[in-house]
C-alpha cells in the first residue's frame, strides 16, 4: 500500500480511528457531553477529509476499493447523516437509563461499515462493509437493552439480517463459482465472454438480490422494517433509514453498473416487480397506521421503491436522479426522525400519532419542520422531495418505463393520505394549557432544533433552487 492509498482512505481510517479514540475517552471516564462533542468533532473531521481527498479522484485500491466521485458523494451523505444522528443522540440518550457513551463507538463503526460499502468493488469488501454495519446495528438497535421493544427489535433484526446475509453470501459464492472472480469488473469481464447466462449465475444473482433486498427493505423482504424502526431508539432508526440503506444502495448500483446488469431482462423484470410491489404495499401499509415510526418505516419501503424506479433504466439520468433522490431522502428522513427524537421523552418515543396533536399550536417551529419533511416525503413542490420525485420520473420516462412511473404516481397518492394525516393531526385541536415540560438539557435541545431547522431549510432551498446542488452533483458522478 502506498502513501496515496492511505491518503485516499483517510475518511475510512478516520472513522475507524475515531471509534478507537472514543473508546479510549470512555476509558478515562469522560462525561457524556465531552464524548458527544468529541465524536461530533470527529465526524466533522471525517466529513471534511472527504473534501480533502477529492483531488485524487478517482482512485482505485486494487482489488477491493474504488474511491470515485460517486462513492465520495455517498460517503458524504452517510457521514453527514451520522453527524446529524450524533447531534440528535445527546438529548435522546442523556435522559435514558443506559450509559450512552459506547453508543458513539458503535455509531462510528456503523458509519465506517456503510462507507466501506460505498467504496467497495469486490465481494469481500462488500461483505466486510455490510457486516461491520450490520453487527454494529444489532447492538445499536438493542441499545436500551432493558426495554422490551428494543430487545425484540434487536433479535428480529439479528436473525433476519444473518439469515439474509447467508443468502447474500451463498449468492456471491455461486457467482464466484461461475465467473471465477469476486471483483465486479472481472465478473463483468467474464460475463461478456459468456454466450448466455447460466442458471447458476442467475440463481446467485437472485440470492444476492434477496440479501440486498432485505437490507434495503423492499417488498417482499420488508416485513422487519416496521418492527425494527419502532423498536430501535429514534436516532438509531434515523441511521437505519438513511446511512445503512444508502450504503447498500450504492454498492448495489455500482455492482449493476459494472456488470451492466441492466442487460438482463429477467433481473430487470424482477426489479420492476419489486419496485412496483414496494411502492404499492409500502404505501398501503401506512394508510391507517397510528404509530409515526411505523408510518415512516412503511414510507421508507415505498421510497426505496421510488429509488428503484430511477435505478431500473440504468441510464446517465438514473445516476443523477438516484444521487439527487438519495440526498433528498436522507435530508428529509433525518428531519422527520429528528422531530421524533426531539419530541421523545424519557419513557417513550414520540411514536403515537396522538402525541402530535395540536403540535402546531404548541410548538410551531417543530411542527413546521416536521410538515416540511412530510411534504417533502410526499413530493409536494417547494420541497426537495418534489424535485427528487420529478427527477425520478424523468429518469424513468426517458427510457420509457411508463408502468413504473405510473405506479409511482398512483401509489404516491396513497402516500399523500398518511402524510396529510400526520399534518392534519398536528393542526388539529387546541393549544393545551399544560406548561411545557422542562428539558433536561436546554442547550442541546436548542442545538438539535437548530440542526433540524437547517435541515428543513435545506429541504426548501433545494426544492426551490435545485440547480445549484444539481450542478455540484455533476462533479460526483459515477465514472
Amino acid at each position: 500500500m502506498s502513501g496515496n492509498d492511505f491518503f485516499a482512505l483517510t475518511p475510512l481510517i478516520l472513522l475507524a480511528g475515531s471509534s478507537v479514540l472514543i473508546m479510549l475517552l470512555i476509558a478515562i471516564k469522560l462525561s457524556h457531553r465531552v464524548i458527544q462533542l468529541s465524536s461530533l468533532l470527529l465526524f466533522i473531521v471525517a466529513f471534511s477529509s472527504l473534501i480533502y481527498i477529492q483531488k485524487l479522484l478517482p482512485y482505485h485500491i486494487e482489488p477491493l476499493l474504488v474511491i470515485d466521485g460517486f462513492s465520495v458523494f455517498i460517503m458524504g451523505l452517510i457521514i453527514f447523516s451520522s453527524l446529524v444522528v450524533n447531534i440528535l443522540s445527546y438529548i435522546y440518550f442523556e435522559e435514558k437509563e443506559e450509559s450512552p457513551k459506547e453508543y458513539y463507538v458503535l455509531l462510528f463503526l456503523c458509519t465506517l461499515g456503510a462507507c466501506v460499502l460505498a467504496v467497495s468493488k469486490h465481494f469481500v469488501s462488500l461483505f466486510l462493509g455490510l457486516e461491520i454495519l450490520t453487527v454494529g446495528l444489532y447492538a445499536l438497535i438493542a441499545y436500551l437493552r432493558v426495554r422490551h421493544h428494543n430487545i425484540e427489535a434487536g433479535i428480529k433484526y439479528l436473525v433476519l439480517a444473518a439469515f439474509s446475509s447467508a443468502f447474500l453470501l451463498f449468492g456471491m459464492a455461486l457467482i464466484y463459482l461461475e465467473t471465477g472472480s469476486m471483483q465486479f469488473s472481472m465478473i463483468a469481464h467474464s460475463l461478456t465472454s459468456l454466450q448466455s447466462l447460466s442458471p447458476l449465475f442467475l440463481t446467485g444473482l437472485g440470492m444476492m438480490l434477496v440479501g440486498v433486498g432485505f437490507k434495503l427493505a423492499v417488498v417482499p423482504f420488508h416485513m422487519w422494517t416496521a418492527d425494527v424502526y419502532e423498536g430501535a431508539p429514534a436516532p438509531v432508526t434515523a441511521f437505519i433509514a438513511t446511512a445503512s440503506k444508502g450504503g447498500v444502495f450504492a454498492v448495489l448500483f455500482r455492482f449493476f453498473i459494472m456488470i451492466d446488469g441492466f442487460r438482463f431482462k429477467v433481473v430487470m423484470l424482477i426489479l420492476i416487480c419489486i419496485a412496483i410491489a414496494s411502492m404499492i404495499i409500502g404505501n398501503l401499509l401506512a394508510v391507517q397506521q397510528k404509530n409515526v415510526k411505523r408510518i415512516l418505516a412503511y414510507s421508507s419501503i415505498a421510497h426505496l421503491g421510488y429509488l428503484l424506479v430511477a435505478f431500473i433504466p440504468g441510464s446517465m439520468m438514473s445516476i443523477k436522479a438516484l444521487s439527487f433522490y438519495l440526498m433528498a431522502y436522507f435530508i428529509t428522513t433525518l428531519t422527520a426522525f429528528g422531530i421524533v427524537t426531539v419530541l421523545s421523552n424519557k419513557e417513550t418515543d414520540a411514536e403515537n400519532i396522538e402525541s402530535y396533536k395540536a403540535l402546531f399550536w404548541e410548538r410551531p417551529v417543530l411542527a413546521c419542520i416536521f410538515s416540511s419533511a412530510l411534504l417533502s416525503l410526499a413530493g409536494i413542490p417547494l420541497t426537495v422531495g418534489f424535485v427528487g420525485k420529478f427527477y425520478i420520473l424523468a429518469a424513468g420516462l426517458q427510457s420509457g418505463f411508463w408502468i413504473t412511473a405510473l405506479i409511482l404516481v398512483i401509489s404516491s397518492v396513497i402516500g399523500l393520505y398518511y402524510y396529510l394525516r400526520i399534518i392534519t393531526t398536528m393542526f388539529a385541536g387546541q393549544k393545551s394549557i399544560l406548561p411545557e415540560e422542562e428539558r433536561a438539557n436546554p442547550v442541546f435541545y436548542m442545538v438539535s432544533i437548530i440542526a433540524l431547522s437547517v435541515l428543513s431549510l435545506l429541504i426548501i432551498w433545494f426544492g426551490v433552487y435545485p440547480s445549484g446542488v444539481m450542478g455540484s452533483m455533476e462533479y460526483f458522478k459515477l465514472k
Binding site: 399550536w361 411534504l375 409536494i380 413542490p381 417547494l382 418534489f386 424535485v387 420529478f390 420520473l393 424523468a394 420516462l397 426517458q398 411508463w402 412511473a405 405510473l406 404516481v409 398512483i410 404516491s412 397518492v413 399523500l416 393520505y417 396529510l420 392534519t424 393542526f427 388539529a428 433552487y465 435545485p466 440547480s467 444539481m470 450542478g471 455533476e474
Partner: protein
C-alpha cells in the same frame, strides 16, 4: 418584472402576516388587504395601459415575457408571460382576492396570521398558474396552491372539514401527478425530435407527436384539468370542499381554482395537442352536457346551501367544457366570459351563504326561509345572483352561456340542444335557493341584521361587475380576442355548410402559435 414582483409581494405579504400575526391579531388582515390591493391596482393599471394596444397586436399576443434560468440542466426556466387571457384572469384573481380578504375580516378569529398566510399563498399559486409558460413551473405553481388551500379547508372549515380537505387534496394531487407524467413525456418527445430539451411552452408548441402517444399525453393533461374544473364524474371532491371550506375558501375555490382547470385546457391542451383534442371533442362535449344536467339535478336535491351552490358550479363548468371543445371563436369567448362571470356570481352566492351561516349558524336551507322580511337587501342581492346563475339576460352569465351555446351549436347541434335544456334546470335550482332562503314564511323571531357596511362594499362590487359584464362585456372580449382567435384557428372548421366566416385558415403543420423571444 411586474409579474415576479406580484408573486413576490403575495408570498412576502403572506410571510409577513404569518410573522406579525403572532403579535397583533389585526395586523395580518390589513397586510393581506394591502397586498391584494396593490396587486389589483397594478394589474388594472396595466390592463388599462395595454387595452388600446391589445387590438393592434397582430402576431404577438404576449404582453410581458419574463425569463430567468432556474434548473438549466433540465431546460427549466422561471418563465412568466401573460397574454389577454392571463391578464384577465389575474385581474379576476386579485379582485376576488380583495373580496376574500374582506369577507374573512371578522369571520376568522383564530390563528389569524396563518390564515392570511394561506390565503395569500393560494393567490400566489393561482397567479403563478396564470402566468407560467414553462411547463415545469406551471406544474410547480399548480401544486403550490394546493397545500395552503388544504390548510384553509382543514383548519378553518366547518364540521366535516378534514374529510373534505383530504378529498380535495388527493383528487387534485392525483390528477396533477398524471399531468406531471404527461409533461415529462412531452419533454422527452420534444427533446428527441429536436435535440433541445426544454420545458418552455413556446418551444414545445407544435411538437410533432405520434397520434397515439399524443392522445395519452393529452389525457394526462386533461385529467388534471377536468378534475379541477370539474367534469362529471370527477366532481365529487367539489361539493365537499366547497361546503366545508370557510367563506373565503369557497370563494377562491369556486372563483379561481376551478378556473385554473379551464385555463389549463385553453392554454395547454388545445395548442399542444390540437389533433388529439379534436378527436376528443365529441366526448368532451358530451361530458360537458352530462355535467350541466347532472349537476343541476343534484343541485336541486341538496339541502345544504353551500353544497347546493357547489353543484351549480358543476353545472356551470359543464358549459365551459362544452364551449372549449366547440373550437370556435364564439364559444371560446363565451368560455372566457363564463370563467369571469361564474367566478363573480357563484362567488357572491358563496359569500352570501357565508353571511347566512354567520347569522343563522346553519347551512340547511330547510331551517331558513322568510329572511327577506329581516334582510331585504340581502334578499334582493341574493335574488340578483340567483338570476345571474340561471342566466338572466342583462347579467354577465347570460352573455357567457349564450355565446357558448351559440358557438357550440355550430359544432354539435344535438348536444347543444341538450345543454340548452340545462337552462331550464338552472332556473329550477336557482329559484329554489331564493324560495327556500328568502321567501316563504319567516320562522325566526330573533333579530337578524342585514348587510353591514363592509358587506355592502363587497356585494356592491360584485353586483356592479356582473351587471357591467352583462351589458358591456366588450372590454373582456377585446382583451382575449387575439388569444381566442388564434386558438380557434388551430382547428379546421367543422362544418363547411354552416361556416359563414371567411377566416384564413392556418394549416396545422405550419402554425406558429407564438413568436419566440
Amino acid at each position: 418584472m411586474i409579474l415576479i414582483y406580484v408573486i413576490g409581494i403575495l408570498m412576502g405579504g403572506g410571510l409577513l402576516s404569518l410573522l406579525l400575526g403572532q403579535w397583533n391579531k389585526n395586523l395580518p388582515r390589513w397586510i393581506a388587504l394591502c397586498t391584494v390591493l396593490v396587486g389589483f391596482i397594478a394589474f388594472v393599471f396595466f390592463w388599462i395601459n395595454q387595452y388600446h394596444t391589445i387590438n393592434l397586436r397582430l402576431t404577438n399576443t404576449w404582453m410581458i415575457d419574463y425569463r430567468h434560468d432556474w434548473i438549466p440542466s433540465f431546460g427549466i426556466s422561471f418563465h412568466l408571460a401573460i397574454d389577454g387571457l392571463s391578464l384577465l384572469l389575474l385581474v379576476l384573481t386579485f379582485f376576488l382576492g380583495i373580496l376574500a380578504v374582506l369577507c374573512s375580516w371578522n369571520d376568522v378569529k383564530e390563528r389569524v396570521g396563518f390564515y392570511y398566510f394561506n390565503l395569500l399563498w393560494i393567490l400566489a399559486g393561482i397567479s403563478g398558474v396564470f402566468m407560467a409558460v414553462d411547463l415545469f413551473l406551471f406544474y410547480f405553481f399548480w401544486e403550490v396552491m394546493l397545500i395552503p388551500m388544504y390548510f384553509l379547508i382543514g383548519i378553518w372549515g366547518s364540521e366535516n372539514r378534514v374529510y373534505a380537505a383530504y378529498k380535495f387534496f388527493i383528487f387534485t394531487q392525483a390528477s396533477g401527478l398524471l399531468m406531471l407524467l404527461a409533461i415529462i413525456g412531452l419533454y422527452f418527445i420534444h427533446g428527441r425530435n429536436t435535440g433541445v430539451y426544454t420545458f418552455n411552452y413556446f418551444e414545445l408548441l407544435g411538437t410533432a407527436i405520434p397520434p397515439h402517444i399524443a392522445f395519452w399525453l393529452m389525457l394526462g393533461f386533461m385529467i388534471a384539468f377536468v378534475v379541477k374544473l370539474p367534469i362529471v364524474p370527477f366532481h365529487t371532491w367539489l361539493p365537499d370542499a366547497h361546503s366545508e371550506a370557510p367563506t373565503a375558501g369557497s370563494l377562491i375555490l369556486a372563483g379561481l381554482l376551478l378556473k385554473t382547470g379551464a385555463y389549463g385546457i385553453l392554454r395547454f391542451v388545445l395548442p399542444l395537442f390540437p389533433e388529439a383534442a379534436h378527436d376528443l371533442a365529441p366526448w368532451a362535449m358530451l361530458f360537458g352536457v352530462i355535467g350541466i344536467i347532472y349537476g343541476a339535478i343534484l343541485s336541486y336535491s341538496q339541502t345544504d346551501l353551500k353544497r347546493l351552490i357547489a353543484y351549480t358550479s358543476v353545472s356551470h363548468m359543464g358549459f365551459v367544457i362544452l364551449g372549449i371543445f366547440a373550437f370556435n371563436e364564439l364559444a371560446l369567448q363565451g368560455v372566457v366570459m363564463q370563467l369571469v362571470t361564474h367566478a363573480i356570481s357563484t362567488g357572491a352566492l358563496f359569500i352570501m351563504a357565508g353571511m347566512l351561516k354567520e347569522r343563522l349558524h346553519t347551512r340547511n336551507i330547510n331551517h331558513m326561509g322568510g329572511l327577506w322580511t329581516q334582510m331585504p337587501q340581502m334578499g334582493a342581492i341574493g335574488m340578483l345572483f340567483a338570476m345571474a346563475s340561471l342566466g338572466l339576460p342583462g347579467l354577465g352569465n347570460f352573455i357567457a352561456e349564450f355565446l357558448i351555446l351559440l358557438g357550440a351549436f355550430k359544432a354539435n347541434v344535438l348536444l347543444t340542444i341538450m345543454a340548452t335544456i340545462g337552462l331550464v334546470f338552472s332556473a329550477i335550482y336557482s329559484l329554489r335557493i331564493v324560495q327556500k332562503v328568502f321567501l316563504g314564511p319567516s320562522e325566526r323571531s330573533d333579530y337578524i341584521s342585514d348587510f353591514s357596511f363592509r358587506e355592502i362594499v363587497v356585494m356592491a362590487a360584485l353586483t356592479l361587475s356582473i351587471v357591467w359584464l352583462g351589458l358591456y362585456p366588450q372590454p373582456v372580449i377585446n382583451t382575449v380576442k387575439l388569444m381566442v382567435n388564434k386558438l380557434a384557428h388551430i382547428f379546421p372548421p367543422e362544418n363547411k355548410n354552416v361556416q359563414q366566416e371567411n377566416y384564413q385558415e392556418i394549416p396545422l403543420s405550419t402554425h406558429k402559435y407564438l413568436v419566440k423571444k
